[in-house]
Amino acid sequence: MNLILEKQTLPALLRFWQEDHDVYLPQKLGQFSHFMPLQEQTDPLLGEPHNTRIPPKSLFLPMTETLVKYTKYGTYKEVDPEVESRIIFAIRPCDAQAVKLLDTVFEQERYTDPLWVERRNNTITIGLGCHEPCHNGFCTTVGYGPFNKTGLDALLTDLGDSYMVETLTEAGEKCFQHLTPASAQTEALVAEIQLNAYNSMEIAFPTVNLKEKLEQNFNSDYWKEISESCLSCGVCTFLCPTCFCFDIVDETQRYERVRNWDTCMFRVYSLEASGHNPRPTRVERTRQRISHKFVYWIDQVNQIGCTGCGRCVRYCPVGLDIRAMLRQVQQLPLEVSHAV
């Protein structure tokens, strides 16, 4: 259903939701925006041309969380996530899509992550589409878009003084049940806004044959070239909405087993107990990061594991740009297989 939400009534609506939910929305933290719970004095930051600095994956997979508490006498207790019902408001489509992709990791048939599932089941996600797509984002290139609906319960389109709300699930419908329906005229306008936004985005790199080229050039010098200036820090992966690697550590001083974000860009990530490291240098680690997103994700769930949010481009301390890296991959040779 398509409804109209006047911007001036938004604060009241947020407060209304707050009676039954924890409401998270982008707010200013220092010089950037960050998803934080609605407080008494909250000033929502919805006009930002791009995303929150830290992706909202952190609301489902926190940077650090305790899994198990134990005692020195050998007894232990799993931590109950105790997630209140939550609404994430104004999540961008790329980030919602990313969370949906991560469901395939944490909600597999045989391996289900109870903490992830608990948080997902208790969260309603309301998206804010990008009528002015951000400059370094490239969502359309990787098959998504500025008004992508996957992973959302409702999607908002900014119309100046109001939003048009497209409810996409029952939960989404419930959140906006007292609003007036949008006119056919408004619906047409929204369709135009969405299409214009989509069309305004350039294709950052061709994805045709990209997977095959990456696979075939596994041992290419290309990896040496592009990784030489890489610092092997964790900026691109920690700020990536689809990177999900974690490390489980026993904090023995406080008798807790915790999990922390981890990244394939760190040397110690792949360091084995024997001392052997299968990815000893930045060359292998850079290859892993790119290949995971553009080869292994496709192998596993037939989707590119990048939603084009642009954070890695924006914040890489040495200005490495994944779009340029992949344009360069497209210059590499492709052997056509003639096998029968």
């Binding site: 820090c233 900026v235 920690f238 904090e251 301390p317 200005g319 740009d321």
Partner: protein, 316 residues
């Protein structure tokens, strides 16, 4: 701004004559705000070499990432020259395997200051004398370069490389050491609670990506203390204790080694301030030991030396 053609000519000569195997400098970035560190191995590649105020990294951080025996050429500014010296002092490279093309530095522009004012849709950046012209989707904005400089550069003491093999351009006057001191004293004059609150607010925003460590030329340990698992020195997670420990211990390891380049802050994806800690240590090392890191390629930093006539302050 030094003559880019002269820098290129010298870099080209080094490769042509086989003086060095590789020249480390910058090339144009894929986005206008981010020139990239680059490694030039043939004279033809030098055409892509750029130099400008947006070159935000301290290139000396790549010195320990290249093979020890290789002959390195490097385009260095004042702070980078000192970092190179400090690394030579620490035995990370033989000075004779280095050729430094020195460039007097007018300061590094903090790209965040541009983005905070005009947004990220930057199409082109041009520099002319003291002006920085930024072209965006919405139009053009002109800034005074000084307004955009990174804080570390505003209080820079040694903008001119002190021991380069060749200096391209005129040496610049030394900076005022009082500026560095004043920044430290201002922070120290705050009540203890306020200082701690500031420290907490900065440290606890950390995501432990270690970009600060990797951007720093002096952080070259094969295994950093935070990565050590047996024994474990700090909490592993992004908890207040873990993040505070990281920021304090990282800073302490820089005492007498930091050249105040500010590359750590410029690399941070969370805009965390760090130089207020290292500047305090630099100030202490300057005032108590009359030492500044990297002012020559021989003198060990005070905390790296032990001599028989060291004072035993705990005896009478």
């Amino acid at each position: 701004m030094p003559d880019i053609e002269k820098i290129k000519a010298e870099a080209k000569r080094l490769l042509q004559e086989g003086v060095v195997d590789v020249v480390v400098a910058f090339k144009a970035g894929d986005t206008p705000l981010h020139p990239q560190p680059a490694f030039f191995r043939s004279p033809e590649e030098i055409d892509n070499l750029v130099y400008g105020s947006l070159c935000q990294n301290n290139l000396a951080t790549f010195l320990t990432r290249m093979p020890k025996q290789s002959k390195l050429g490097m385009v260095v500014r004042g702070c980078e020259n000192r970092s190179v010296n400090a690394l030579v002092v620490e035995g990370q490279k033989l000075r004779e395997n280095l050729y430094l093309i020195g460039v007097p530095c007018e300061g590094i522009v903090d790209w965040r200051k541009i983005v905070n004012q005009v947004g990220e849709a930057v199409l082109n950046v041009r520099e002319e004398a003291d002006l920085v012209m930024v072209e965006t989707r919405q139009g053009q904005a002109t800034f005074n370069k000084k307004e955009l400089l990174h804080e570390s550069c505003l209080r820079c003491i040694h903008p001119t490389p002190i021991s380069a093999d060749i200096l391209i351009g005129e040496a610049l006057p030394e900076g005022d050491p009082n500026l560095a001191r004043t920044a430290v004293e201002e922070f120290e004059s705050l009540p203890r609670e306020e200082r701690f609150a500031w420290f907490q607010q900065e440290a606890e925003r950390c995501i432990r990506c270690y970009a600060c460590r990797e951007a720093c030329p002096m952080c070259y340990c094969e295994e950093c203390f935070v990565d050590h698992t047996n024994p474990r020195w700090t909490e592993s997670g992004a908890t207040p204790a873990g993040m505070q420990a990281w920021h304090i211990v990282r800073a302490f390891h820089q005492a007498g080694r930091c050249t105040s380049c500010g590359a750590c802050e410029r690399a941070c994806p969370m805009d965390i301030k760090m130089t207020y800690l290292t500047e305090k240590l630099n100030h202490d090392i300057r005032s108590k030991y009359n030492f500044e890191a990297g002012m020559d390629a021989q003198t060990q930093p005070p905390f790296a030396t032990v001599t028989l006539d060291d004072k035993n302050r705990f005896t009478v």
